[in-house]
Amino acid sequence: MTNLPTPTLSEGASVVCVVCILLVPLAAGGLALMNAGLGRSRGAAHTMIASLCILSVAVITYFVCGFAVQGFAEGPSHVLNEGGKQWDWIGAGPFFFRKFELDGSRESLVAVFSMLCAGLAALIPLGAAAERWRLRAMCASTALLAGFTFPLFAHWVRFGGWLEQVGSNYGLGHGLIDVGGSGWIQAAGGLTALSIVWILGPRRGKYSSTKMPNAIPAHNAVFVVFGAMLCWLGWLGLNSAGAILFGGALPGQTLLEIVNTTLAAASAGLAALVVTGLRFGRPDASLTCNGWIGGLVASSAGCLFIKPAEAVVVGAIAGVLVTYAVEWLEFGLKVDDPGGSISAHAVGGIWGLLAVGLFARLPTLSGSNSGQFVAQLVGIATLLGFVLPITYGLNRLLNWFVPYRVSLEGERQGMDLHELGADAYPEFVVHTEEFIQR
């Protein structure tokens, strides 16, 4: 089997692609709002400014060296030869985009799209590590993610790397299919979040002396729901641009992408709403939004290749999985993830990759999907066996030089006051002198 076709982009496809790429930052804005809303009010400003810092560091690092590591399809790369088969391990693109024309060609659109995706992936750990992760440590960790781990895995999956080549080299379908980034953006970001949360430990007061988790409710459900809606728009752009750039979709085929993405998110949100309603007596707003995000994440990998009815199934399963994963992580594994990032992005992303193997109807792939299913399993194995250990190891190493966890005093004070010197909602503070009779 060969890789997916990637014909030259027509002018119309380039224009549609640029419009879709312009929507991607809305996903970042949505995630930032969700992360801020799901935390406590005393860390809201910190979460928002941290999101901006993370995005800035991620895009600059990607520009400096990330694109060089990632490379682009049919661009220069470092290759190993094994038994006459080529294993493309790492890109050899230009540093600082040197001598790289941003002229509307497929390669230039891919570079811009990937730069925004690096920012999006880097935002995911913030949701899990909020309220105890220092700003400078976030920036350092983001540089690591956007400069090395994200582009390396992205190269393997989508830019002519060995995971894409397992189709042509070993007959595993079309190689790993992940057009919108369920694996190379979302699951990679979610597993980085897990690594960082393991290093940081839970927030103080999250677990009682009997190891039971205490509820620390979201401070602003409106932010969370509005953030989830913004993410929907962002994901429409993300999946459509990915389908045009990596799946060879024509501009008209983005309609299928839009329908599938929306259906997956809707069914995931409803599934989470029903599950929480049945289990707790009332629907839970934050879990419903996490389920919604899980559906968007799961839809990314293969929404160009599945039917709308299948998108509903993929989304519904994602919604149920995310809801149970949140509880399992909090109660069973004692992982404190206030934003539900690990569940929505890592679990949802892995499910999305698996769903491609189960449901996708791929061009020129007739008969059994078994080869494609194995290719998807190889991708999941790489996420667990490479991305998770390397992000944990590198972040652990970085933690020695730039301590990740804020001091006890800082945590008690709140990240807003401790690191920024001002609260997000100063009017919440009652100034006694305002009530003194004059």
């Binding site: 094994e82 595993l172 677990y207 004692k334 399993l377 194995a381 790489t382 066996g385 490479f386």
Partner: protein
């Protein structure tokens, strides 16, 4: 235990990697890829257990 867990995660991935050039039949390849994933799951359980123990010790 944590180190052993991460070692098993990487070992499972190597099983998956090695199975592709070494095995020709799709059936055998599927079995080995699943076996590699199984090793990774055991590794993940070990890493999770080690973190639970650390949490217990530090309170």
């Amino acid at each position: 235990m944590k180190l052993a867990g991460f070692f098993m995660l990487v070992a499972g991935w190597f099983i998956v990697l090695a199975s592709m050039p070494l095995l020709g039949s799709m059936k055998l390849l599927t079995i080995f890829v699943l076996a590699g994933l199984g090793v990774e799951v055991i590794g993940l359980v070990l890493v999770v257990r080690s973190h639970l123990i650390v949490e217990d010790e530090t309170g």
